[in-house]
């Protein structure tokens, strides 16, 4: 896909995230919007997957560790063809397959269950070990939040992956600098994050998490590293794409109200007023 097509795809995913959250009446806004570009790059350019065969044994695996940003995972899967886009509007409702936090047995394309923070990297490591044991080429990708680096298990996993030189594992950190109680460096400082990973024997890349050329180059670069696991620290803007949500940690854990959603959708549809919307 061209960069332009990817940008448009990410915009559609962002619009669906807003609609889903409005419909659900609860859920997280900032994280899913901030990760829409990374997820678009993964599902439409990087991952070797087949939506028609979600259980294909040689598929790449994507493990979402910070399960609360699942609206972006659900929207990406739906747009990629794993299930009907209309089903997105059932998020968090009784009888849905789109639970408040993702469940591997509920929906095709979901590799793991997550929600309680800090568990995903370990699961991804287990999958990477399987590929290594079986001499398979498929890769494992793990998406982590920055806040979940407060969890001890995350560091147990980082230590283990470094020790085992798991080069078939690529981790992306959503470095948006916010968590529920405020800015990460106030709640529990993580810096120097890149140096910490390097000292645990990881290859570290830092990118602008909203620049598709950067994102795709980083994932391709990671494939070429054969001695270590790679972590891509993606600097993202929480709430990206919706002006009044960007960089405001109050939007971490709440959905937009109806008037806010209207405003957000208008902004996304018009690319911040750059084009005139026919819906005006």
């Amino acid at each position: 896909m061209t960069t332009k097509r990817l940008e448009l795809q990410a915009n559609l995913i962002r619009q669906d995230i807003i609609k889903m959250l409005l419909e659900a009446g609860s859920g997280h806004s900032a994280g899913p919007l901030g990760m829409a570009d990374i997820f678009t790059a993964l599902y439409f350019e990087i991952l070797n997957i087949d939506p028609k065969k979600p259980d294909w044994s040689d598929r790449d695996r994507l493990v979402l560790s910070c399960g609360h940003i699942c609206p972006v995972l659900y929207a990406s899967l739906a747009h990629r063809g794993y299930f009907p886009v209309e089903e997105l509007m059932t998020l968090r409702k009784f009888g849905t397959r789109l639970h408040g936090h993702p469940h591997n047995l509920a929906l095709p394309g979901i590799e793991n269950s997550s929600g309680p923070l800090g568990q995903g990297l370990s699961q991804a490591i287990g999958m990477a070990l399987t590929a290594k044991l079986d001499n398979k080429k498929w890769r494992t990708y793990a998406v982590l939040s920055d806040g979940e680096h407060d969890e001890g298990q995350t560091w147990e996993a980082i230590m283990f992956a470094g020790k085992n030189e798991l080069h078939n594992l690529t981790t992306v950190i959503d470095r948006n600098n916010i968590q529920i109680d405020g800015f990460t460096e106030d709640v529990m400082p993580l810096e120097p994050l890149a140096d910490k990973y390097r000292s645990f024997n990881w290859h570290v890349l830092e990118i602008d998490g909203h620049n598709f050329e950067d994102i795709i180059a980083a994932f391709r670069h990671a494939k070429a590293v054969f001695e270590k696991p790679t972590v891509i620290i993606a600097h993202t803007i929480p709430g990206k794409g919706v002006d009044f949500m960007e960089n405001d940690y109050h939007w971490h854990g709440k959905p937009p109200k109806s008037d806010e959603a209207k405003l957000a959708l208008k902004e996304l549809r018009t690319l911040r007023g750059k084009i005139t919307s026919e819906h005006e």
């Binding site: 591997n104 370990s122 287990g126």
Partner: protein
């Protein structure tokens, strides 16, 4: 001893630690099933994973002292087709990593086999921190989990092989000490199916782990006074409700015996079945809602009311209650 229902050793009981049986079972699985992998949290010799690790080094993962990561890595291995056995002391796994066990393993139905060693008060001198007395309760309560407490080393080996064939999360726990080997190779073993050890007319003791042997001793001591049956309930979940109801109907009095807190373990599971289906007087032997302390295994078993005499008294109490009702 009279009326044995299954082939049992009963002349002289050899003393072997159940973990030796587990280690043999795991080694056999290494040979018979290439998907079996082993993970251990810095206790490879102690939990008898050593032989597997030496025979199949590419399928063995040293996890360090990091039980939370071990549970998660095992989940990932299982979700991609492997059959991982995690091993640590029961206080650490499933003790320390219960949330990972709940979400990464049980909720995901990851085919992980959790091995909790050094369980029970009989771990002895290490003291209360290392005496897992809550592990059956915290695993039994998890949906999708199977919980098995083998009675001796021979049964531990059979259970190890059996859980590898069961698709889904399993927890197997055993103590540190050498305990009497009461079952034989040819003694039947089926997950979820209680093993009748001896028949009795007045009371049935339902026990697991090393308490089965102690229950047999209690039954022997009561011979001529009370006719006591013994049922080996090696699988706590799914519990063999039919076997419990059958013996309750036969003897109308039940005693349970386990090396675990009296809250939440085998005694609770049996009580739940009886309360739901066929209430009869029941007395429970277990640690009485307290932490342990340092001491020799036998001293502790006596002090915390897990001795043969405690079982004998429980049988006498339940008979009195039955006759009074």
């Amino acid at each position: 001893m009279s009326k044995f229902l299954v082939p049992l050793h009963h002349e002289s009981f050899e003393q072997i630690a159940p973990r030796d049986g587990f280690g043999q079972g795991l080694l056999e699985l290494g040979k018979s099933n290439p998907n079996v992998v082993a993970l251990c949290g810095d206790l490879v010799e102690s939990i008898r994973v050593q032989a597997f690790a030496e025979a199949y080094p590419e399928r063995y993962f040293e996890m360090g002292v990091a039980e939370q990561n071990m549970a998660g890595v095992a989940a990932g291995l299982a979700l991609s087709g492997k059959i991982p056995f995690t091993s640590s002391y029961a206080v650490f796994s499933p003790g320390r990593n219960w949330d990972q066990t709940r979400v990464s393993i049980c909720y995901s139905k990851a085919n992980v086999k959790i091995v909790g060693a050094h369980a029970g008060i009989s771990v002895g001198p290490d003291g209360a921190t290392h005496q897992a007395l809550e592990d059956v309760a915290i695993t039994r309560v998890l949906p999708n989990m199977l919980v098995v407490v083998p009675t001796d080393s021979v049964e531990a080996k059979k259970a190890t092989i059996a859980i590898s064939k069961h698709i889904g999360p399993c927890y197997i726990r055993f103590g540190r000490e050498k305990t009497p080997v009461i079952t034989k190779e040819e003694t039947p073993f089926e997950l979820g199916k209680a093993l009748p050890i001896r028949a009795g007319d007045d009371v049935t003791i339902i026990a697991n782990g090393q308490m089965v042997y102690r229950s047999m001793m209690a039954a022997k001591e009561l011979e001529g006074k009370v006719s006591v049956g013994v049922l080996n309930m090696h699988t706590v979940k799914p519990i063999d409700a039919k076997a419990i109801i059958d013996v309750a109907k036969e003897t109308n009095a039940i005693v349970t015996a386990e090396e675990h807190q009296i809250i939440g373990g085998l005694g609770s599971a049996v009580t739940e079945v009886l309360a739901d289906h066929y209430p009869v007087p029941i007395e429970r032997i277990g640690v009485l809602d307290t932490f342990g302390e340092s001491g020799k295994p036998d001293e502790l078993m006596e002090h915390y009311h897990l001795g043969v005499s405690d079982i004998v008294h429980a049988v006498e109490r339940v008979v009195r209650r039955k006759n009074a009702s």
